[in-house]
């Protein structure tokens, strides 16, 4: 582990371009990945990431070390920008794009890997926004529950409830897609 984020941000405030480069190397990929999970659109995710780092450069001077984790602040800014964009567009309801009850397309073994990936991605993307965000943070980005709750500005209990509902919903939606993968998953 190299220099801490707080030190890097302090160097950014001194117009140290090398520190900017290191922050980008360290966090740009995670921000893009997270935004892509929440938005379901890689191009919009890049726009969000650019806006996030624009704010980093702008606010570096006013950053207070130790008050919050830099990554927490980064994800929170990204999440707010994603939510702004989601509010401006109408999300497709789950049933419009994917019918998990369709027996003709319900068995993963009969589908190409790419098709399974596409259907799982769609199932994840069509979760309610807060469940999807909780899953993107904790499952995909490996953020701890306490930090994820801080990013989403909810209690840890609320975050855990969101995660549990997300997994239960996915289990139900993906069961027709891959019954053999989910055998034994009915016990709830």
């Amino acid at each position: 582990m190299g220099e801490g984020d707080d030190h890097l941000v302090a160097r950014v405030a001194q117009a140290d371009h090398e520190a900017c480069r290191e922050l980008v190397d360290r966090h740009l990929g995670r921000v893009v990945a997270f935004a892509a999970r929440v938005l379901g659109d890689p191009n919009e995710a890049e726009d969000v990431a650019q806006e996030v780092f624009t704010r980093v450069w702008t606010h570096a001077r006013s950053w207070t070390p130790g008050r919050a984790r830099f990554s927490t602040w980064l994800f929170r800014v990204a999440l707010n920008l994603c939510r702004d964009r989601l509010a401006r567009r109408r999300e497709l309801p789950f049933e419009e794009g994917f019918d998990p009850a369709d027996p003709a397309a319900s068995v993963a073994a009969q589908l190409e890997d790419a098709e399974v990936s596409r259907l799982v991605t769609r199932a994840v993307h069509t979760l309610p926004e807060r469940q999807r965000t909780a899953l993107a943070l904790c499952h995909f980005e490996g953020v701890g529950n306490v930090e994820a709750a801080e990013i989403m500005q909810v209690s840890v209990e609320a975050l855990e409830s969101l995660l549990a509902r997300a997994r239960r919903t996915l289990r139900e939606r993906l069961r027709p897609l891959a019954p053999e993968l989910l055998a034994g998953g009915r016990q709830t």
């Binding site: 950014v12 405030a13 117009a15 140290d16 371009h17 900017c20 480069r21 980008v24 740009l28 990929g29 893009v32 990945a33 997270f34 892509a36 999970r37 890689p42 995710a45 890049e46 990431a49 650019q50 780092f53 624009t54 450069w57 570096a60 993963a108 890997d113 399974v116 990936s117 596409r118 799982v120 991605t121 994840v124 899953l135 904790c138 499952h139 995909f140 701890g144 529950n145 855990e160 995660l163 549990a164 997994r167 239960r168 996915l170 289990r171 993906l174 897609l177 891959a178 993968l181 989910l182 055998a183 034994g184 998953g185 016990q187 709830t188």
Partner: protein
């Protein structure tokens, strides 16, 4: 640890036991040793997590995005913008076009005929003389401000002798004359 508690932990944290709270982790391990049902639930959670992981991998940030982000970063933005300016095709085209226009203008100026001898004093005096006295149109002051211009013509030579030569009276004046006559 009950089966219900185990299922709740699986729903919240997934099968990655290392993410569980330490106290729950130890209790779950004890339950898993003695309960086949618990092991079945853990296996199902592993399958679900594996399926979720098959969601399309998120995009890797493009090099263009990285350059854009660093171009506006403190301490290096101007340099990056300069580099990008030179690499920009539209900018190069605009620069080439500008240089071509400047060269054409210079060539045209060099090949244009030299100006002749300066104008003499007579020629300069002529420049201030107007052949057409346009202000004469404003010199006829025979009409008063209350007069009404004549409409038509009264010149028989022009074939319009049937047109009354007198100007039409204003309606207010006509009414007044009728009242006086009455």
């Amino acid at each position: 640890m009950t089966l219900e508690r185990l299922q709740l932990l699986l729903d919240v944290y997934g099968c990655r036991v290392d993410r569980w709270p330490p106290a729950d982790r130890r209790a779950a391990e004890a339950l898993l040793e003695v309960s086949a049902n618990a092991r079945t639930r853990l296996a199902a959670a592993r399958r679900l997590d594996a399926l979720i992981d098959r969601a399309v991998a998120p995009v890797v940030p493009s090099q263009a995005l990285r350059e854009r982000v660093l171009a506006i970063a403190p301490g290096g933005g101007a340099r990056a913008r300069t580099v990008r300016w030179w690499r920009s095709r539209p900018a190069l085209a605009a620069a080439a076009g500008g240089m071509a226009l400047a060269a054409s203008l210079a060539l045209w100026l060099m090949r244009a005929p030299a100006p002749g001898a300066p104008l003499g004093s007579d020629a300069l005096a002529q420049l201030g003389v107007l052949d057409v006295p346009t202000d004469a149109l404003l010199s006829d002051t025979t009409l008063g401000v209350d007069d009404t211009p004549v409409f038509g013509c009264d010149d028989p030579a022009l074939g319009c002798d049937d047109v009354p030569a007198e100007p039409p009276q204003r309606s207010g004046q006509l009414v007044l004359e009728k009242e006086v006559a009455a």
